[in-house]
Symmetry: D3
Subunit: 249 residues, 6 copies
């Protein structure tokens, strides 16, 4: 039995609150167990220099933790004057994942800035960020379509993410919380689309390795868990589900 | 009549939620109108190098805004690689104000890190930060006393802050929200103790000046407003009010 | 009696040498007791990007100390690779104060760079910088008017500054030198116009507080002291006094 | 048929030159097609502060490209004053992978610095770096054992890496060179041990996704390719193969 | 007799390999004894902002060492986030020296980026860099002329460099290797043209001084040594020697 | 005839004011024509980490210009967040030159910080800095000896510096002022001891070269000019001349 009395294939409870703050075009608070991330999507009516005059848009993400989101306080990256390797890796992952389900040609020369700010961390912050950021972006982009600012809904599929791991006894477990993550032999993040294709797989054994059979087990758990998360996302985006349905037609 | 139909001497509604996140020793969400700041106090059992071996403590503050706390998105300071002058000024102010009501000798060799993170900004973020940070510090320090880790409650008085300003028509107004602040001739931040003494006065006319009479009018408004804020703080700190009462005895 | 045998309401001796170095449009060495600051005003015929195409000017200030301006040597900020919070606070104050008495519309698309470099420090460097910088800017701008490069003298009033404080025995004192500043309970900087209005008030009690009565006492001392400083400034700007007289007419 | 007339499951030619420069404890030039990386392992007789007094060692990696390793010149990261997200991601991957096959307890309080410097890039630089770095570390550590400085050979298994991808026509291909990588839908890096377990899997579809079947196909190709690379590594480490054999006994 | 059994006026063996890597317009590996430097020249079809619209070109150089080019490992400058004073001094020297023999007017609005990356260091890396960089630039520029992209061969003379020094016994020696350099009283770098004029002389006694007679002795050794190096350079540039001959005619 | 109606071998007027500011152990304002540099020497009773526990001292120099020391304003290096290559080169030169005439063994574990701050620049700032810094260091060290804090006067000889150049017409000239320096073909800085030996020679032709005969001519001019500068230095150090005389005995 796991730390929080969950089954090996059981997700923590998830809620996605929308309109969490008033300024962003899309603003979401995603809660996965004790992990809480504010995901804001901001629309800017121009693109970075390397994208100009191509008639298409860009999506970029930033990720940060409040200093005391964690058990002991971390030094603020703005005070250190540089962003850590871990942070860069995560924000590159979030941006890349979102771009895989958005047709940038239909976005026009706009940048979507996605800010994922972890206010409380208990494992799985990067996957919660992706799941929440997708909703924030959908809300922001949905309004653009609804307001007639863009013609074609540019999001091609749902997107979400979850972590899986191999515990010290060799079994695979879904959605690791912090105490589990700290002792796991292998940690894998899986990003998938609503139609069940992979967008990104990152599996890592820091001081351990994993067999092909363990890989398959982790992939099965992740695939199953992401179907439940998909339902939460659909509920959160409300009226904008219609755009996905029509685009599937 | 003001933007939000308030009287000139009327505060916006204030709420102070405690235990907002689970890790910090003191964690508060302060809401002043549409301004929302997470104030976390963390206790670290050592002091910075310049304070070592003196048997006393230290308090330091950091202040930050989420990129989209404001109407248009700001560049993250960690991405810019440096902290702006405005941010430095605010975090120096918060730390200095808190130190004025804490007897560092009674704290032992501990550092209190205060993190004020603005998640939604609508004017008065620095004064809301001071008011909220005082509560977070009191909760963190109160627990130390309650748990017997320190003998003497080191906080000597309540501390809070509010903004006042001179509007374009020359009248003074209390607790400016963003649209008022943007058009005000003079902006003044007043930090006071519970017993009505000044800790800090910062009055600034960027493209205007103010007369001695206007200064007095602003100070009166601030003094009155801070008495109401004091009541909110007393409610938020609950059982720890006893320590203030006994120290006053 | 004070450290330097001054009365509580007595200024240190002040001299303002003009044309101190040959390149700047306005160059001043201001000496206040043992505090010496080089204040240079440079005119640049363009404005920063955020001000372009508005037909108006900009004033910005930088402040620095020689490493050995102080009793023990400080690390050079260029070697540290960043500007301290204290320096930023001071240079923001100087720039803001100067802008309050200059009508930027009459300056044309020009930037005035004000450099305040402390070569010897003995308390009151930021207020001496403001007093000296005002003279340097007046000399630089006066030449522009005299040379016919701008039509309307854009400076609307005199500007100067002084520090006051509350000593450990509770009395207020004017123009603190370093040894006094180090032991004062409260330190207040007051920036005023020639016509006696406030531009900026910054009063701070680091480990002490001050009463409303003490505040009034400090403001009275400052107001009186600044009248004497005004006379020094008038002497220093020589022929350009005429522009102020005509603008007052 | 592929750009370089290879089969889909065919590696580019690989050579591993040892003792490439004279100072490092282990120095290797690995050539994979037109990709050339200098991999140097340096032994330092101390560990970073966070590892001190634990009696164990540490391995860390840095990765860099000569500015003109690529078709067009890149700005040197030392000139930019910061390391890019891509570089950080790669050097974290290399360090993590190496640590998974080294028993740090047997290394003593030593740090192994691994420097992977790409002098010519044609795709697959991060996987070539891992493959070459493993040889450099083995040579450096092997000498320590041979010289009697450490008792137990601390490397537990071989380690190598290769890229695989999904080409625009949906087929999987092994060991992508630059022109292939640029047009591939999916890019996956696979790091494995000599005994066929996974150490790290990173599969990414920037503007595309991949099916579970395509994932399996890529994993098969990688597994096969890495067996050939293992032979090159065995040849390169020469006499030190004995340590692996005895540790397997 | 010297460390490596050379005469006082004897150079170490020199080889200049051309086309060392495939991407740069000019790519050279220069080997001087155990010192090995990759010198790459890249042509970019634009000039830096301060040179624009003048119809002429620019040459700039960067210099770096692999961390383990030296006996003990150095921290990578990109990790430190800044370039050391020594590196800046060397790259300014290389750029300045190259510009002295190139007529920038004949280059058109192009920048030549010269990258000197030391992969193995044993003294004389800056002079080897100049000697090798000259060949790399000649190859890059020669191709531009050959391909008809520029009309006039812009290089006006050969350029090379060597170090000389005063040994502890007061004798002058040519081409110091590392162990000699470390104990020399005086270290001098001499940069000359093919026609025997000086481009740069930098003679330094860190804890010693040198007499006018010793200066002459060092200059004689350098002048003699550079004639031999000139022959190596002529051999390396092959067909492009013709451009020098015709420009001399 | 030269810009300022000097002969080719004629120095500008030089004055060396001592006790220029009150805090430093040695404080000098050196004026060479219109070039003015504040040279301060500070004694710190410890050495940098790499020098500890060797019983000897260290001397290091920093050089800076006020932003408006020059005809047009330069960006402050502390604002840019990094020190330019030119500044680094100059401060390395000053430190190295001073160390060549100080026996660090006799200094004890002390650091001498030398700060050269140019307040007005008109050519020759680096050589004026060396000449002035030598006086400041002598005053600071002389006091240490006089006060009995060190036993042996550690300065072994006088030190000074001057620039020479080759003008466009091919003639050599001494002590170039800015307008001459800007048009000179060759610029050479010569640092010598009081007894006429060279400490440093740096001759540079940016877009020109120089012959061996021109080199000799420049060296002759420099040697002659430095004899006059030596007299100014002797006058400035006053009573401390005795220490040089006794050390010569």
């Amino acid at each position: 039995m796991r730390a929080s009395e969950r089954e090996l294939d059981q997700l923590r409870s998830i809620t996605i609150d929308t309109e969490f703050t008033k300024h962003p075009e899309g603003s979401v608070l995603i809660t996965v167990g004790d992990t809480k991330v504010i995901c804001n999507a901001s629309i800017e009516n121009r693109v970075p220099p390397f994208m100009r005059n191509q008639g298409k848009g860009w999506i970029t993400a930033e990720y940060s933790m409040l200093p005391r989101a964690t058990e002991s306080r971390n030094i603020r990256e703005s005070s250190k004057g540089k962003v850590s390797g871990r942070t860069m890796e995560i924000q590159r992952l979030i941006g890349r994942a979102l771009r895989s389900v958005v047709n940038l040609d239909h976005l026009g020369e706009r940048t979507i800035w996605v800010d994922c700010d972890v206010i409380q961390a208990d494992g799985g912050t990067r996957t919660a960020s992706i799941t929440g950021a997708f909703v924030a972006v959908t809300l922001a982009v949905g309004k653009l379509v609804k307001d007639g600012e863009i013609d074609t809904f540019p999001i091609t599929d749902f997107l979400n993410a979850i972590s899986v791991g191999i515990m010290p006894d060799g079994t695979a477990a879904l959605d690791l919380e912090y105490v589990e993550d700290a002792e796991a032999n292998v940690d894998m993040n899986v990003v998938m689309t609503g139609s069940g294709e992979f967008v990104e797989i990152q599996g890592t054994g820091e001081e351990a390795t994993f067999t092909p059979a363990q890989l398959q087990e982790m992939l099965s758990l992740a695939t199953k868990g992401l179907q439940d998360i998909l339902e939460c996302q659909k509920e959160a985006i409300g009226e904008f589900n219609q755009y996905f349905e029509s685009s599937e037609a």
